[in-house]
C-alpha cells in the first residue's frame, strides 16, 4: 500500500468548481509546516476531531491558516469565515493535482 497518497471522496460543494461533490481527489501527505498560500489542503476540522475537511489556504500568519472554500457563494462554505484561523498542525495532506 502506498501510504504517501490518499484518495479523498469529496462531500459537498464548497470547493466547487475545483472539486465537485462526489468526485475523488488525490492528496499527498506532507509535513504541515511545508504548506503554502494557495494550496488546497485536507485537514481535521478545528471543532470536530472526527471530521476531515478540504479548503484552500488564503493566508498564513504565525502558524495559523485562514482557510476558504473555492465556491464564490457567500453561504457555500464553512471555513475560516465561520471557525476562524486554524493551527497549521491540523493539516494532513495537500491536493496533488488541480
Amino acid at each position: 500500500m502506498d501510504t504517501r497518497f490518499l484518495n479523498v471522496v469529496v462531500k459537498g460543494d464548497s470547493m466547487w468548481p475545483t472539486l465537485k461533490q462526489g468526485s475523488t481527489a488525490k492528496f499527498e501527505r506532507i509535513d504541515p509546516n511545508s504548506v503554502s498560500v494557495g494550496q488546497v489542503v485536507l485537514l481535521d476540522h478545528p471543532f470536530m476531531p472526527n471530521l476531515r475537511i478540504i479548503k484552500r489556504i488564503q493566508s498564513i500568519e504565525d502558524r495559523q491558516l485562514f482557510l476558504v472554500g473555492d465556491n464564490p457563494d457567500p453561504t457555500a462554505s464553512e471555513d475560516s469565515h465561520n471557525f476562524g484561523m486554524v493551527d497549521i498542525a491540523l493539516v494532513i495532506a495537500v491536493l496533488s493535482q488541480e
Binding site: 500500500m1 502506498d2 501510504t3 497518497f5 490518499l6 484518495n7 479523498v8 471522496v9 469529496v10 462531500k11 459537498g12 460543494d13 464548497s14 470547493m15 466547487w16 468548481p17 472539486l19 465537485k20 461533490q21 475523488t24 488525490k26 501527505r29 509535513d31 485536507l42 481535521d44 476540522h45 471530521l51 476531515r52 475537511i53 478540504i54 479548503k55 472554500g69 465556491n71 464564490p72 457563494d73 453561504t75 457555500a76 462554505s77 464553512e78 471555513d79 469565515h81 465561520n82 494532513i92
Partner: protein, 159 residues
Amino acid sequence: MRESPVREMIDIDNEHIPTIEASAHCDGPCGVYDPASARVAAEAVQSMTKKMVALSESSADCSSASYINTMSRYAVIKEEESQKCKDELLILWTDFFKPQHLETIPDLHDTFWQAAKLCSACKVEVSEQHAQELMDAVEAIHHMFWAAKGRDVPWIRAS
C-alpha cells in the same frame, strides 16, 4: 504525520491508495430548505383571488359592512401570502441555490425573477390568470429544487 481512518481500499490509477471521505460543505444546514412553504403561500393567494372574484360576481350588497369586511379580509390575506411567497422564494433563490446549479439549470435566475414578479402582480391585482401562473412557477421551482437534491418528489397541492 497525522493518520486518518481508512474507510475502504480502492484501486485508482493502478495504485493501491487508502480512500477516505472529507467534507466540503456549506455553512448552514442545507437540508432544511423546502419549496413547500412557497407552495402553501401561493395556494393561499390563488384561493383568496378566486374568493374575491366570486364574491364580486355575487348578488351581495357591496355597501354592507359584512361584504366590505369579507372582501377586505380576502384582500389582506392575499397581500400577506403574496409577500410570504416572495420571501420563501427569495430564500431558496439566494441561500439554497448556488453557482454550480446554473450548470444544470441555466434558466434558474429568470425562473425565480419571473416568479417573484408574479408575487408582486398577485398583490396589486385580482387576477386569476396571474395566480395560476404563480402556481405554475412555484411548481417549476419545486421540480428544479428536488432535481438539484437528486430526489424525485411529486408535486402535490393541498387544495
